[in-house]
Amino acid sequence: MTATDTNTRIASEGGVPPSDGTPLMSLRGIRKTFGSHQALRGVDLDIFAGECVGLIGDNAAGKSTLSKIIAGTHIPDGGRILLGDEPVSFQSPADARARHIEMVYQDLSLCDHIDVVGNLFLGREMTKGPFLDQERMIKQAEEMLARLEIRIPRLTAKVEKLSGGQRQAIAIARAASFEPDILIMDEPTSALAVAEVEAVLELINRVKERGVGVILVTHRMQDLFRVCDRIAVMYEGTKVAERRTEETNLQELVDLIVGKGGH
């Protein structure tokens, strides 16, 4: 359990820690079937503190399914999930959230009819007696967004009024702000403008420094080399390769993704 203790959240000196020791989370032989479709056919993956794992692969390779299993949204049909040494089985996203696993979903999972503050605190509203403590939430939300350098003009505006980039920024802020141990991001930069992509990549580097294990699902190969320490390539529901970022290059990754890696 040493690796999952809270004191590892303190920023580690000297950048990238080595991928040895106990992983924060280990996936072993994860399988998932939707009807007759084998979404995942036995996937192993380790996530270490302070490290970012890139999860890449073609559409329908199983990246999103795997990340949703880690976040508790899908329940795997087979395989084991270990948090440190402890086997866990998440029955719902609430279970995973209780174990400090947060996810930024590709569809963002925001409620359009609720204001920005309400979305940031969705599912963990602050209360004063039986009532929502709107003032305290606004104050904390301002701090949360400022820390991530996200600028939203009016925190009491309904989320439906915001741009795609702002919505994505809110989804990211929501997941990153509550001291996660593991942060999963499914295509976090897809709808963002240049400056916002930079901010997200910086954010990933910053949460890594705090000792968070990050899983980044993305199609943007250039992002991988900016933030990832390891890259896992998925193909047809299996993990076909795993490389340390410094030992690979764009061409090799592209070959692995399209299935030329075996030749």
């Binding site: 996203p93 609430a94 999972s109 599912g123 509203e125 929502l132 003009p153 009016r154």
Partner: protein, 335 residues
């Protein structure tokens, strides 16, 4: 060469306010227009007696409309409220006639309402049957059960003066049913505006999967609003029974449509998420005022239904066409 960066200035707060509350503002305007119109057309409309009478008559609808707002906010619907009212109305009369003390009967009836709502909520939320189907079945079942219980007769309530006071009495000059409705409205408003439960209701209607993903008990929340609708229907049934001094299987015909019309007129979206408790109150009272005003103007009562229907259609048409998104203030009005 230096580059200067400037920040956008924040938009006008008034404009934000108007665009956010466009629908409530429009129904409020319409409500006031109705008050002024009927006030000008008849002498008695704006008298205190008449206005209190309007609120007394609207009380059962108002009580159920508060719960219906919550149901519709979760993107559901409860078509069975009228039949539930008839069933509990008849059952209350039978229970009190059988000698059960009326306070006990009230608790029992509210429990029956919760049970009915709980069954419907379970089918909707845990079994995934569309709310329209579940409650349409309920509409038929409970009306049938009421007919079966009473065999079509009206059952008088005798020897329970305290109970009848609930429907006929006044407190500080205000009819008791109106007071009860006002309390329910205030409770409903506060719940939706500033409590975690209200937030959960809105979240489930706005994006059910998102609510589930952030750990809200989404299924439980959705089923719970049907329980509230059941309890509110039972309360409305008790108010009706107390006012009329009898229980009848034919009570509350078309009740569900009046309730839903009031809620929708107030700006709560049938698609879920978008909600307005103040709008519901204004919408319900608008319909009540139109009904009352037309009668005072000696318009044929048969006309009332036609006018109400037309007004609902026109008001909602105006809301969706004119006030959604393109509402502008100070620039030539509506686009």
């Amino acid at each position: 060469m230096s580059t200067t960066y400037t920040e956008r200035v924040a938009g006008s707060a008034t404009r934000d306010f108007v665009s956010e509350y466009a629908q409530v503002l429009s129904i409020a305007t319409f409500f006031i227009v109705c008050l002024v119109f009927f006030g000008a057309m008849t002498d008695v409309f704006l008298s205190a007696t008449n206005l209190l009478n309007v609120v007394r008559q609207a009380a059962p609808i108002l009580v159920v409309a508060v719960a219906m707002t919550m149901v519709i906010t979760t993107a559901g619907i409860d078509l069975s409220v009228g039949s539930q009212v008839a069933f509990v109305n008849a059952l209350a009369a039978i229970t009190i006639s059988a000698g059960v003390p009326w306070p006990v009967a009230i608790v029992l009836m509210l429990g029956v309402g919760a049970l009915i709502g709980g069954v419907q909520g379970w089918f909707v939320s845990y079994q995934g049957i569309p709310a329209f189907i579940v409650t349409l079945a309920g509409l038929s079942i409970y009306r049938g059960a009421a007919l079966l219980l009473t065999e079509g007769y009206s059952i008088p309530i005798r020897g329970a003066d305290g109970f009848l006071w609930l429907g006929r009495g006044t407190l500080l000059g205000v009819p008791v049913p109106a007071l009860i409705a006002i309390l329910v409205v205030i409770a409903g408003f506060v719940v939706m505006w500033r409590t975690p439960y209200g937030r959960q209701i809105i979240a489930c209607g706005s994006n059910f999967e998102a609510a589930r993903r952030v750990g809200m008990p989404a299924r439980r929340v959705v089923s719970s609003v049907y329980v509230l609708a059941g309890v509110a229907s039972a309360l409305a049934a008790l108010l009706l029974a107390a006012r009329l001094g009898s229980g009848s299987s034919n009570a509350a015909q078309g009740f569900e449509l009046q309730v839903i019309a009031g809620v929708v007129l107030g700006g709560t979206s049938l698609m879920g998420g978008k909600t307005s408790m103040i709008g519901t109150v204004l919408g319900t009272l608008t319909i009540a005022v139109i009904g009352n005003g037309l009668i005072l103007m000696h318009v044929s009562p048969f006309f009332t239904q036609i006018v109400t229907g037309v007004i609902i259609l026109v008001a909602i048409w105006m809301n969706t066409r004119l006030f959604t998104g393109t509402w502008k203030i100070g620039k030539g009005g509506v686009q």
